[in-house]
Symmetry: D4
Subunit: 238 residues, 8 copies
């Protein structure tokens, strides 16, 4: 207990109290939630993390902030991956040799419009070190589409299912697999979708036993937990 | 217009203003909603309808009222069908010859606990003159169960799908058939099912184009509309 | 069952998995939901459908996408109908001889502001092959307006009723007719209309037995199901 | 202003601070809300009012309290009217000669199950001195029933409309008359009626300009305001 | 009954079915709800009403439509009153001699920000022929402000109380007067005001017996009903 | 920091991990929430606290548990105060001499039915050592009642205002005083009070600056915080 | 795909369509949800599973059904574990040798009243074959209690956190560990807890990245997913 | 009572009825809520207050109004503090000698994005005369960050805790201190945060006894009440 409570595990960046002990306690460094932060603050955190030997990851980085970060990080000579659909920024380290056995995450989306959230989940899982498969537009109204893709996701360690509207896809996926399904309701829909509430409630009431749920549009959190589960395999099998 | 507005199409039974023009205007006699009515009132309506040549139908008849009605209607020599699971009372007329070609209604339920609502839908559709198939416990978590039953419902004129919890079944059924699907959310579930709200919202947001929705636990209304659609075939094909 | 599950009934258009078996299974080709899709994607789907002999239909196509599609489809020599109020695009085939007996759909709206949703329902029903009558601005506060129009909708196979605010019109229409009424709540209103919630709840609780409901502003779905019911007559009576 | 702020207009009955200035300020004595009060407290208030020359009125008096009050008030020699359906207790004064010209209130209910609330409204309006007409079971699904009763309510000074489920009746009534309509949503219904919420929202969004609304099941408040409006006529015409 | 059901009481203006029988049935001509109508449509209705001898009234007329109507109605030589804060347009007739005894309406608002809704109520009541007093910014946190104004509203026939946030003012006003109080919740507030829901619920639960409620921001409806009540006095006292 | 984190400040009572450091950290010992605990568990906690020199306090103790505790605590020779209306149990210590200067708390309730919650607040504040004044039934519909009591609460250190229905009383009280007002919404009411939600929202939106809010029916929490504020005076003035 | 779609993987027990392929597809046999099923039906399913070599598990088995099942399963000579607090029935197989390396699940609850849900999670995880640690009553108001227990849960493969009221515990636990946290909101609380909604929303909005959520009171689902994750370790490390 | 009810304690500024007795009754002058007021009105109130010897305070002053006020107040020679993050304007008086013993308020925020609300609380508390400490970005996911700051807030007279998302921080802070905690939910978050509703409900259900709550984003109200509590110390200790 003593280890993660001493004061020096915090980097005091004025408006930010950066938690440097996060990787030791929780497995991964603190992630940067880009919304409501200035681009300068985001850059400062990336740099502070790098100074402590940590490859940062930022979500909800809009186009304008993204452009700024691209220039600055390039100038600093950092390797990174910017995904404008996912609105994520991922620092990539090449110092460690690639793991031979990596955990597998599948990200499945119900419709074309769910892409930003599905991409956010994919980027996050990649950052955690997982191998990621993305399967899109296989919603329940055309049931054979999902079944045709079964071989691509049946051996995953964890599956992220992204769906708006009635959010029925996680229940159907859950009925085919033996790994945890992390359901992400999206705000895609109109009228009585109430900004994703319908999908959220549907997923919480899923009749499939292996489905847990995250917040509406929380692609990040789903990708993170999927990565956490997949990492376990990596660790165990090494 | 004149026809259905004259005063004599109403039977004044004191606390009830019985709409005798309903069959002429809407295809079927006024249905008796048993909740909040005394057993004596229900009996009085059944008799008044019979006096005008109409076979009545009552829903939400609890056990105590049911027993009373059974005795009284038997005493009066009426043929009837009492379904205690559905909580319905259906007068049966044998004066008309059976239709050769009857419309077909399928009633499909997600789980065993949805039985009362599924039965209410079935009884109502039977009262409208339809041929009815009942398929139970084929929820989406075991997807092959529904597909195994496909031949039993694929040629229906209208399908009633009854489901609680996340209410995903109508979307899946809708993807397999070319007839209207009438979705009935049930109050089965707990926690964030919020008394059927989750299923209701899910069904309203169904990605299947052929799904319309009725009130939570409204097996009656679904069976009624399904019967109305099926009747159309009967009429047309005669 | 075998037929509609083989892989070749899917057209893989990268971001879209087009369900080509939809007409066989469900009666009509897959409909294009324009919101959240680029104009190029919409065009691609129209073309892919056409290549498979199917006349596509797109909803929620805004002005900018509409203009693009108009130019491109014209250039490709396709016959189509663009309705900017309904925001729909409908491909029109002249290869098939017109059906002698077509089913009839009536679309009734409560107020002038409901026009976009009423038009969407009308366009959809036309695409399904139905004959469509549109009756506007006959809300319940002026009750004689509806009764004056009774002859125009009394013989319909299915009626779509579009209303915002308190959503009382479907109940009133339902009391006059013997066909299914599909109620569409609209987001027209303010304050405690809560974006159409008041109308939605009102319609779900309708005391008329023949009323089913679709999502708020879902003119498309109502027109689709009405068309499905009307088509049945066509088929039967041919 | 001075008059109604001096301390002696309050009767201190320990747990109750009885507002004796209410009739002077508001037109009628303070009404006793029976729920959550003991039968002894209710009796004490009735007596204190009587001592100050006021005929009290109590609502939400259940059967057990009602029986007690009947005995006690009889023993005290008070004239009263107990209505067990309405759950109201009304003291009746015979000292004043009946007004020649009394205001007229109509109470209209949609269904048989709305009786307790309709009766509460009727009793309250009677207590305010109005002449009251009660019209029951004329919901919108049988539209000719309401029109048949038009002569009975068209000359009212104020109309109370009581309805559960979708609560559409006030809008329809409002379209026929030139007096204020006070709409009372009831908790009658099931599923998405959400304890009267659907009716409440419907009534608040009424397209009829002359409709105002009170709380769910608040028959008392509607009857009170209707009485207040009707009383105005009495006063003016005297 | 016959009178108000004949077809010729409707003016068919294409997209609008103008209810010409409204004044006969309901006391005032049909009011024009400006939102969602084009300026040309609004003008057309004003003219059609004028052709039938009726002085129209329009609400929710934004600045751009207002400017257009001002020009056109001036060009046509009509007398009118345009209130840009209230967003209303009121045609004024000088043909009738002013009534000697007019009913009195008081409009009371809680805060400065409630002005648009208070003004809408005032304009509407003026249109109905009432004498109107406007009292602003007398919310409950400074209780002596209201009491200082008591003489200005104590003899009103009806009082409109406009308040956002917690909506407590109608209850307090209700405790001082013997006429109906029509409470208008406004969408003024933030956070848990939820767009006026807090004020709406507060007013529905008012402990004052003489308070009825209209929709959030429905200054029009409150002014209309207040005018209806005040008109009664005029009629009676003439 | 060190002091309150060492393990020995916890008493391990099997199903309960009693926090013995609470008084040191938070000013008062841990309070026993009686709901969901067996009477034996409650007794065990009282005794364990007593063993550590602490006089316990329990809320939500129903009649059956209360009777048991009365017997047992009496048998153990403890001095205590059981308030069956408040459903509280308060151990009373006579070892400490009474403070000369005690902080003052006023508890004000809107109606007779709010008594249990008002009593719970009073008992809690008494337990914290405050002097408490209770003023009941002074709701806003009779405004002079509150003003008549002004001298009794104007010098309080903190005021607890308990109200159901529209919850307007705290705003009105807040406008008269210069100390914090802690508002307690109660579940008293019906219909659109939605179990206290209306009062809660009203209080959160109070236009009085000195009003903070606690959970519905949380008389305990309001009394506790009021006591905390009053205690400060005691401490300061000693 | 072929394997899990053939018809013979269903046991047709009349009202139940038992999914025998569940273990093959999803890792564990179908679980029996006891609510809404008769005791006879539950027994029938247990036996049918046993006949197919599967040890069943039932949740939401109330006392009366529990007693019946205890007798019958004993009579049949089955080994089982009945937990009346958790309301679960778990068949125990002794045919397989115990796994040397079992995955570890920690179940942590905030308060004493959360015991039934925590026990349900524990029983479920045990059924999946995991080693389970239960830590109770360590809610956030006494922060040192949780930290004192850190060594007991820090090496878990998955942690189930059960909390009602504000549901803050999962966020705090999540900040200490590197494994997935499955948060279970409970319906413990009152007032604005709205039956667990407050806890549910809190958990969905957790600022800890490793927290996913299940339905209110869904101890079963959390235990199941935790078991699924823990099982992975078992498999991998064997 | 007499003192604060005479009419001359109101300054009639046309659209504003300025309550000049507020400081006498409530301890501080009336605060200017900038939203919905024109910049000219705000200036007029500042000046009117100054004329009566009062230093005003305005909240919700946006950039454009702020710039105007800066110029005008500078021109008038007033000393003031404009905080553009907090959006507040505070007049500063130098006529009174500084209090030797000032009460202490701590403002603690969970995340960087909560800054505007935390700053509003800080400015308000400063205006009330308190000494204020601001501690930012110490949310519960990094628990040691809060504990490291404990010495900075442990001796405060009142603590304002500002948090969005799940709003867990007040409960945790509450467990460490012996003074009142005023919790401010913020609208920071997305999806199921529902504009701050999740944080609001979480805080209302806090298991810490010393937590009261204000409206979403109501930094002002929290700072005001904290100042009121802190002022008490000042007064007492002088």
């Amino acid at each position: 207990m003593a280890n993660h409570l001493h004061a020096h595990s915090i980097a005091d960046l004025d408006e930010v109290q950066l938690d440097l002990g996060r990787r030791e306690r929780c497995g991964f460094p603190e992630v940067i939630y880009g919304e409501g932060k200035t681009k300068e603050t985001i850059l400062k955190i990336f740099c502070s993390l790098k100074d402590h030997g940590l490859d940062g990851f930022a979500t909800r980085v809009d186009a304008e902030k993204g452009q700024f970060l691209e220039q600055e990080l390039q100038r600093l000579g950092y390797s990174f991956q910017y995904n404008p659909v996912a609105r994520t920024f991922r620092l990539v380290s090449f110092s460690e040799p690639p793991t031979v056995l990596r955990g597998k995450v599948a990200v499945i989306s119900a419709g074309t419009s769910d892409a930003p959230i599905a991409e956010e989940a994919r980027e996050t899982a990649l950052w955690t070190g997982a191998e990621v498969t993305l399967i899109q537009d296989v919603g329940v109204a055309g049931p054979h589409r999902l079944q045709a893709k079964l071989p691509e996701f049946q051996d995953a360690d964890a599956i992220v299912v992204v769906a708006g509207m009635e959010g029925a896809l996680p229940s159907v996926v859950g009925g085919f697999v033996a790994c945890p399904v992390i359901a992400v309701p999206t705000s895609i829909g109109y009228g009585a979708s109430f900004g994703g509430l319908a999908a959220l409630l549907g997923m919480l009431n899923s009749c499939a036993s292996n489905v847990t749920v995250v917040n509406i549009d929380a692609g990040f959190k789903a990708g993170y937990v999927a990565g956490l589960i997949a990492k376990r395999r990596t660790k165990n099998e090494k």
